[in-house]
Amino acid sequence: MLDNSEGYVTEDGRKIGGVVMEMKNITLRFGGVVAIKDISFDIREGEIRAIIGPNGAGKSSMLNVISGFYVPQEGEVWFHGSKRPQMRPFEVAQQGIARTFQNIALFEGMSVLDNVMTGRLGYMKTNIFQQALWKGKAEAEETENREAVEKIIDFLEIQHIRKTPVSRLPYGLKKRVELARALAAEPKLLLLDEPMAGMNVEEKEDMSRFILDVNDEFGTTIALIEHDMGVVMDLSDRVVVMDYGKKIGDGTPDEVRNNQEVIDAYLGVSHD
């Protein structure tokens, strides 16, 4: 386990900073079902943190707790050194946490460009009257944010589809547009819920490359859930392993790989 508070240096030589987000003893119940049982872990600045586990382990619930959809019955969420009060999801977003969804959650009726532009919402400061007038402040703001968005569009190589309605795009591209929308917010913490689900090998390779590039280029802190073990082990700096709502492992990919409990959870032994 790594517990030095100053951060650490990864195998490939990237410097990881202090703690960005810390989950302290989170317990989440739905009626009688305990989805998450007393889990604590942290996410450090600039790292790629994976949350893995078999189906139903509570990974997505964990992400939903971080992004404010679920309110845990017990435990605290600390973000940038202060305890987060109970927040609505849009307030969490305004704090600088962006995410993508397991089943794509794009705005189907809008073009790719408009979808990515929605990611810039936090940077739009004009009021409705200025926007109604358009000329002047609103137009300047639109242009300014458009420039930022075009950088993301270039970065993710989706220039050719920027005016296409999202509903016409194939699955793999939709995933990429969703990533673009999350990135457009220039988040302090980016949550990816199964970014590679349902993709073929080539698309997975592309997506992995993009995730690494995002981390490298913008220094974005990333927390991701993924089922493809090969991808997880290659991409992430540290891994949290969950099973039946409990944390059964936490550490570098190598540590996790050799953890007996993790092996059991994945290969299956009787839970008695």
Binding site: F90, F107, D114, T118, L121, E147, A182
Partner: protein, 358 residues
């Protein structure tokens, strides 16, 4: 050939986000504006104004308003008639209380008052969606009509319970009342329509429009990217009601002159405007124009064909009119659920390649 984007390069993002990015569209828009402002006022007569142009202009404003709510923000409303009534009564009260103030101000204020009422009735939208919200707005419709019928203060204690528009002018030109010239009423409504359409376009192409559409397409995802659902829905209700209120004020003061609320602003008015929006195309400003034109023009065309050309009795034509309009609406919804605006879009895509389809 006529209509193409090729060679029309944009060198700035500002140029790319303008209302009519394609040159041909832009020129057509200028031509339409020139004809509407520069030619029609000189050739208009009372028949054309009252049968076609005024209802078209006013319904187009109402349709733009409803389209913002239903088409852009995805909140179904059946309260349009009620909100038009708010606009009409607000305008009436203002006209009679402040006779010297310009009608422009009265109509705008009437829109503003309707916006406040709209926000109030929009509050349930935070909790309920879809059909249930439609029912809640239906309650608004009936409540408002009841209110204006029952509280004599709203119709200044007149014996008939009606409201009558007194004669008012703008810069010395009479706009309301029986002596208003056709060209003046037409121009007055046209100015408001242009004003509303430009505002609607500016809002829908920018941040506000994107938050509305985000709420419409997927409210959960909208929230996760930082859209405050309360703010987004209530601004949609406010802007929508503002336009609908303006339409109501014009409908009463400029077009009809006298209004009995249950008859004019009843539930059938809500449905009429909703049909305009659906037939024209949800989520399209152009669609609002097309829908309003279609439903205003259709009865007139049917009447001309039935009574004047075929020589049928008026009552039969009037009944046939209902049947045909109804049948057309159903056919339309089945064949092109995205409305006239989508037909137009498809036509443009075809034209872009014409005459070589590949």
């Amino acid at each position: 050939m006529f209509y193409r984007e090729a060679g029309d390069f944009k060198t700035s993002y500002t140029a790319d986000s303008q209302t009519f990015p394609i040159k041909f569209d832009r020129y057509r828009y200028y031509v339409v504006l020139a004809v509407a402002f520069g030619i029609i006022p000189f050739i208009i007569n009372d028949y054309w104004a009252n049968a076609l142009l005024l209802p078209f202009l006013i319904y187009a404003i109402a349709a733009i308003g409803l389209n913002i709510l239903v088409g852009y923000c995805g909140q179904v409303s059946l309260g349009t008639g009620g909100f038009m009534a708010v606009g009409a009564y607000a305008c009436y009260k203002l006209m009679t209380a402040f006779p010297d103030v310009s009608m422009f101000i009265h109509v705008l204020l009437a829109g503003g008052i309707t916006a406040i009422v709209g926000v109030l009735f929009g509050l349930p939208s935070l909790r309920i969606k879809g059909f249930y919200l439609a029912v809640a707005t239906l309650a608004a419709q009936f409540f408002l009509v009841w209110l204006f019928n029952r509280v004599p203060w709203f119709y200044n204690y007149s014996a008939s319970g009606q409201i009558n528009a007194p004669e008012r002018d703008v810069f010395g030109i009479i706009i309301t009342g029986p002596n208003a010239p056709a060209w003046a009423t037409y121009l007055f409504c046209l100015i408001f329509l242009s004003f509303c359409a430009i505002i609607a376009r500016n809002l829908t192409r920018g941040t506000t429009g994107r938050t509305w559409m985000a709420i419409r397409d997927m409210d959960i995802a909208a929230e996760i990217i930082g859209v405050n659902p309360l703010k987004a829905k209530l601004t949609a209700f406010a802007v929508s009601s503002f336009f609908v209120g303006i339409a109501g004020a014009l409908f009463f003061a400029v077009y009809l002159g006298a209004v009995e609320v249950g008859e004019v602003f009843g539930i059938q008015k809500s449905f009429l405007v909703l049909f305009m929006v659906i037939i024209g195309g949800l989520g399209s400003i152009f669609g609002s124009f097309a829908g309003a034109a279609f439903l205003v023009l259709l009865p007139v065309v049917l009447k001309v064909v039935g009574v004047d050309v075929l020589g049928w009795p008026t009552d039969i034509v009037a009944h046939l009119q209902l049947v045909i309009v109804g049948a057309l609406i159903i056919t339309f919804l089945i064949l092109e659920p995205h409305g006239l605006a989508q037909l137009w879009r498809v036509a443009k895509e075809k034209l872009r390649l014409w005459p070589f389809p590949h």
